[in-house]
Assembly symmetry: C2
Homo-oligomer: 199 residues x 2
C-alpha cells in the first residue's frame, strides 16, 4: 500500500506546478521533483497525468465551492456585496502568484480540454455549477431591489463570468492586476447598473 | 540556402498544430510531421519553437489587423454594425474548427506567456493595438449617437474584449458556439445600450 502522505505531497506540490506551467507544460518529472518524491513513485498513486490533473481540478473546485458558499450563497449579506466579495477572493488568490498563474478552470479550458475528454466534461459541469450560483446571487439582487426586475440573470451571469476569465487572461499577460480592477469597475458601473428606482 | 517553400509549409501546417494543441502541447516533431518536411529541417528555418511561435503570432496578428481594417476602422459603415461584423468574423473563424481551437491570442495568453517572455511582450502589444481599434469604433458610435455620450469607451473596450475571450474559452469547453452567441446578445442589449435619446 502506498503511503497516503506521498499522495498528498504530489497533489499539493503538483497543483502549483500545473497551475504555473499548464497541463502540457508540466511533466510528470516536474511534478515528482516538486513533490521531492522518488522517481517512479508517481504511478503508485495515479494512473496517468490526466488522472492526476482531473483530481487537481476536483480539489480546486472544492475550494471554489467553499468560496461560493461564503459569498454568493451567503443569504445573510447583501447580494451585490456578496458578488463583489466573491470576485475579490479570486483577485486576492491571483495576486498571491503575481498574476502569473491564472485560474485552473480558465487555464484548463484553453488547453487541457483539447487533450483530455474527461477534463473537458468536468469543466462543463464546473461552468454549470458556478453559473447556477452566480444566477442565485443575481436573482437575490433583483429581489432586494439592487438590480432592475427586467435583468436577465441567466445571461448576465454568463457574461460576467466570461469577462472575469478574459480579464484573468490579460492580467496574466500584463503580470498586473489592473485588468481585473477594470473589469470589476465596469461590471458594477455599467453591466449591473443599479436599479434606478432605488437611486 | 533553405528553400522558402519549406519555411512556408512549416508556418502553414504548424499554425493548425499549435492552434489545436497549444504552445507546450505541440512539439517540433508534430510540426515537422504536419508539414511533411524531413526530420531535422526545422532548425534550418527557425532557431527554436519559441521563435517559430512568435512568427506564428505575428502572422496571426496580420490577419487580425486586416479584419480590423475591414470592420472596426471602416468609416463607411455604421459603428456598432462594424463592431458586430468584427465579432462575427471571429465567430465564423472559430466555428470552422468546431469551436475546438479558440484564438491564438487567448490560447497563448493562458499558456505561452508563462513559458516565453518574448511571446508575453508581443501579446501585450497586440492587446494594446486591438484595444485602440475597439476604442476607435466605440468613439465613432458615440459621435454617431449610437452610444450615450457618457460612455467610457476605453473601459468598455477592455471589458468587451475580455468577455469575448472568456466566451471563447467556454465555447472551447462546450464545443459549441452558444457561449459566443450569448456574449453578443448581452453585449449589445445590456453593455452597449442604445442611446435612449435616439429611441
Amino acid at each position: 500500500m502506498p503511503k497516503p502522505s506521498h499522495r498528498e505531497k504530489f497533489l499539493k506540490a503538483g497543483f502549483e506546478v500545473v497551475l504555473e506551467r499548464g497541463y502540457c507544460g508540466a511533466s510528470v518529472r516536474d511534478i515528482v521533483q516538486a513533490a521531492g518524491a522518488p522517481q517512479g513513485s508517481f504511478t503508485n498513486h495515479f494512473a496517468s497525468k490526466e488522472a492526476f490533473c482531473l483530481e487537481l481540478l476536483d480539489r480546486y473546485f472544492v475550494m471554489v465551492e467553499k468560496n461560493i458558499r461564503l459569498t454568493l450563497r451567503n443569504d445573510a449579506a447583501k447580494p451585490l456585496a456578496r458578488l463583489e466579495e466573491w470576485l475579490d477572493i479570486q483577485i486576492h488568490f491571483l495576486k498571491k502568484a503575481g498574476m502569473r498563474n491564472g485560474c485552473l478552470i480558465g487555464n484548463f479550458s484553453a488547453e487541457a480540454g483539447e487533450h483530455s475528454e474527461p477534463i473537458r466534461q468536468r469543466l462543463r459541469e464546473i461552468y454549470h455549477e458556478i453559473h447556477r450560483s452566480v444566477v442565485y446571487c443575481l436573482e437575490a439582487a433583483v429581489k432586494a431591489g439592487e438590480l432592475h426586475t427586467s435583468a436577465d440573470c441567466g445571461e448576465l451571469a454568463h457574461f460576467l463570468y466570461a469577462a472575469l476569465h478574459g480579464a484573468i487572461l490579460q492580467a496574466k499577460v500584463e503580470h498586473k492586476p489592473a485588468p481585473l480592477e477594470r473589469f470589476k469597475k465596469t461590471l458594477f458601473a455599467v453591466v449591473l447598473r443599479p436599479n434606478p428606482s432605488r437611486k
